[in-house]
Amino acid sequence: MDKMKLEDLRKALDRRELSAVELTAYYLDRIAQHDRELNAFITVLRAEALQMAAAADRRIAAQENVTALTGIPVAIKDNIYTEGIRTTCASRLLANYYPSYDATVVSRLKQAGAVLIGKTNLDEFAMGSATQYSYYGVTRNPWDRNRSAGGSSGGSAVAVAAGMAPLALGSDTGGSIRQPAAFCGVWGLKPTYGRVSRYGLVPYAPSFDQIGPLAASGRDLLLLFQTIAGYDPLDPTSLPDPLNLDGDLSASIRGLRVGLPREFFGTGLDAGIKERVLAAAKVLGAAGCELVELSLPSVAYAAPTYHLLAYAEASASMARYGGVRYGSRAGAGRGNVEMMTTTRHGLGLEVKRRILLGTYFLSADCYEEYYRQAQKVKAWMIRDFAAAYRRCDLLLTPTTAAPAFRFGDEAKEERALALTEQYTVAANLTGNPALSFPCGRINQLPVGAQLIGPAGTEALLIRVATVYAESATEGGFPGETVPETGEQIEG
């Protein structure tokens, strides 16, 4: 069943060949079977999911408001609010935090009749790139248990890759959906900033954060995206424009201009990844796209610019965890300052590192030289990309510089992450939508390619990648080769 596409599951549910309860029970069994080792879930909603599935079955039987997702299980990253369901952000501070309302994306899933199957693991407060800074332990890559699943939405990517959920939601501040999607061989979309409501998403760096879908195919991804996207008056940065969610994924892509920015194919990129992404470009060329080589010089400064701005915003976002309103409170201090300081002692080291760096870069000594300069580089990058979109319709790049790295090799890990961030953060800095999709494997490890486009082009990105996936001969669909045993891979 985990190898069935969503449209096949939908047909089976609608024809009553399969019930939503049976489908949910199947995925709950997969979780029970595999998650002890993979650790993709912080909370499994066994009872709640079966109840929601039973409600979906009643809805299907009565033919009332049946949508593409009615009765379909969805895993939710644990930094997205779920009313009455523990939302930990993978932090000890929020270990017993139960939100009193749903995030808008969760409300929309519930309205569509989807089944919430569990809350997935992440780096604490989404601050990390390997799902290793979680209070609830490391999430492991299903293709090789000794390698990183990526992060911070590693739990969501693993849930889909290992067939523990057909769909999942993640959040992407600097690549946190796309990088784990690439490492785990699934599809992941960071929507245009403002396209999906952030209401109920625990903020890390609010000017970059976006909620987005993860799935096993472009068609499945689009269905989830269509369900969660759209204007929300509760999010002041929500885009008011009407959505262009043209769902015709079989429409021709002939005549589209696909840009290949040379800064994404230079030093440090794994030769195998380069080969596979360029092979994907050739497939698009054969489908009638025009391939355009171009340069985006600002990208060389994307990673430090992103880090500075994200740390600055993180230091402000985290100020709310002072022991007053959210989560646990440490000891009885002599006043608010002492209470806040003592409570925040419970944060993990990586979160503390980012708060301290943000505090430093926002200090009077650094503001002009660093913070304002970072804002200028960001503005330069926005112009640089806007100029590129006059020469091409979208950009094709690798998602990561190397396949999933092995735990324990810190030097390699740091190098791989630094390069990887360079490829993903540009879309967060510019607010553009970006999609990671599988484009083959190296030594059995998945490789991801990335499409980036101008604001509002999510459906186009999915369409182009789907044309590639459906015409590719190697490894386009991870669902065909879901790893069962986690064989150890050398290299």
Partner: protein, 70 residues
């Protein structure tokens, strides 16, 4: 720029962040490594005429604020 352990301790105090001595020993070099990597942005050859805080091509086109009863 190199921050000393005492400067990181002062930063933690201004951020209202409790850190232990062991954490300070790990955080100080980690913060210095990050600062070193970030310092590169000072060399970015930003073209003339690029604004800083309010770029003319908005990345984040938020709507106008509207007064609403709470």
């Amino acid at each position: 720029m190199v921050l000393t352990k005492e400067q990181v301790r002062a930063l933690a105090a201004s951020a209202r962040l409790g850190v232990s001595e062991e954490e300070l020993a790990v955080l100080t070099p980690a913060i210095n490594r990050a600062c070193q990597a970030i310092a590169r942005i000072r060399e970015a050859p930003v073209p003339e005429g690029i604004p800083d805080l309010f770029p003319d091509v908005p990345a984040h086109p938020g709507r106008e604020d509207e007064g609403r009863p709470s």
